[in-house]
Amino acid sequence: MIILFIYIAIFVAAMIGYKLISGFLTKKDDFTSLKTVTFGDESAVISNRAASIISIVAIFLIWGSFTGSKIVPSFLHVSGPYVGETSFTYEAKDASGATDTGTIKAVVHPVSEPAEKPVVDEAANTGFAKDAAEKVITYRSILVSKSDLLENPSEQEIVSVDGKAIAPNGSVQIDTGEVRMTAKGSLAYEPTKGLQMESIWLPAPEAVVTRLIEISSEGYQNVTLGENLGWSIYRVIVGFTLGSIVGIPLGYAMGLNGWFRGWFDPIVEFMRPVPPLALIPLIIIWFGIWETGKISLLFLAALWIMVIAARSGVSGVSISKVHAAYSLGASKSQLLWKVIVPNSLPEIFTGARVAMGVCWGTVVAAELVAAEKGAGKMIIAASKFQNTDIVLMGIILIGIIGYGIDIMMRMAENYLVPWKGKG
């Protein structure tokens, strides 16, 4: 919740700040800036480059400040967990009504920096309420048993902490955290956690980068990063290629022949809305968890998309082009190869982009279920050992590769079908 509010605040502040600054800096007189009607005119809405940069910076800033990252200056860090020595007193009462006080000292330390228990001054430790010393790891709590504190725990009980009354199941706030009393009258101390995330929930950005470097050279569980990602990409490419090899000719046949269309339409229309992930259990039963299974799954994921793309590519050929080709003397096979195929390429590329995206998503999910190597396997294995930094790194890499695939497909599209959308 806090993070959301901070994010919205940064968004608004950056927008207002940018407006003020850019208003002074540049005096634009290009065509768009001369338009008076901009609200509602889609063509006048240009993605603001500065906003994109600030957006990315903001994400890292928030990420860094909530994880105590070194890449964010420390004054921007939100309050971290309490670290250091602390102490609190408690008061105990016995059956006769006599009271005594004791002091509990504690040292709070991060798990990565071991510390020693503070020393109890035994000379001053008189009365039935004893002093105690403990060490606590940040984000954890410590239970100080009643029997360790009181001389005769069955007849005496603790009644207050730092002067504030406490009862079983109650709690008292102290400067450095919270003291709770258990149902049986023991004390539990939990140091202040602050707003920062524990690295097991969200590691700092630099921890993820360090892991990336470490894993790309040494690997994780004896598999290098390159191998993991390489296997995923390999599966996608093989599955997609097989799907295209079968799907595109089938789509053409459905676009050109009524029998083919009638025969395969029910199958395609039924299979298309089935998410590939829903097929995983069946695929595992049929083909097992190894490569055959995963590649069959990706084949099926790509197949229907490519069939539909090729079919609509054929339907998209305007009848006048077909008529023109025939009256210029083209034969049926010439019409297919010289007119229908090139004319359907834009549709096929659109289908291929969608299919690649779906395949990439499906392969990661399939690897989460079962795999020896692969990007999905890496993050699911890491999550079992609570290596959140590896999980996060894997997710980021999966995102980058998916985006990279789409960009490459778009570049290929621009190069191979420059006439797309210009007919």
Binding site: H323, A324, L328, Q334, P342, K422, G423
Partner: protein, 268 residues
Amino acid sequence: MSNLIIDDISMRFELPNGGAVQALQNVSLNLKSGELMSVLGPSGCGKTTLLNIVAGFLAPTEGKVILNDHVVTGPAAERGMVFQQGALFEWMNVRKNIAFGPDMAGKPAAETQEKVESLLQIVGLKDFADKMIYELSGGMQQRVALARCLANDPDVILMDEPLGALDALTREKMQGLVLKLWKETGKTIILITHSVEEALLLGERLVVMAPRPGRIHKEYNLPFAEMGVGKDLRLVKKEKRFGEVREEILTMIWDMEEEIMGRQEDVA
């Protein structure tokens, strides 16, 4: 020698709801080689259907089309077609589009090349030979369509409102080009149009068709096409006879439209 005979053609479409449309009824026309004929008529009079039958895209329910002593059964290179728009192959450049017909026929590349160059010259696209289709304006695209059709050296050229999508100025220029091509190549041309002026300018013969059922209503033999070759078409339009015929045909078509509407209106 390339006589085109349209012999008593009727065309009847069965409708899914059990009815039928008589698109053409007993249409007969006889074109001599090198004749330029324009076809005019209100929408729904079957002119495009007629053209599609001559092109071989549709088989008539009755009658036949005969070209060079054989019956037309399907599309063929001997009957070239120019469409209103959108029939160019946008994945090819101008040169390849024009060379499409000869390439399909497997003509020698050098010969085709030569032909394409000369056609580029004729239609005035010398400097645009390597441009892609989507880089050209509408008028230029229609020039490519004309050149592509001519590259195949057809006996008959069928034009289905070839200038319909162009702006008025480009249209006038293109009308001059069509006349020039007709005179230079000596092709038999059938041109369908909505514009009365265009039909007058681009028709030695002008056929006015009437709707429901589609039939030939009236035929004219006109001097304007011959007159307009290589001349300013605006001068032709100023001819007294041109104005008279135009008024006559406009009235004729107006009356037909009125009849279709099924009501009489006072015409001011």
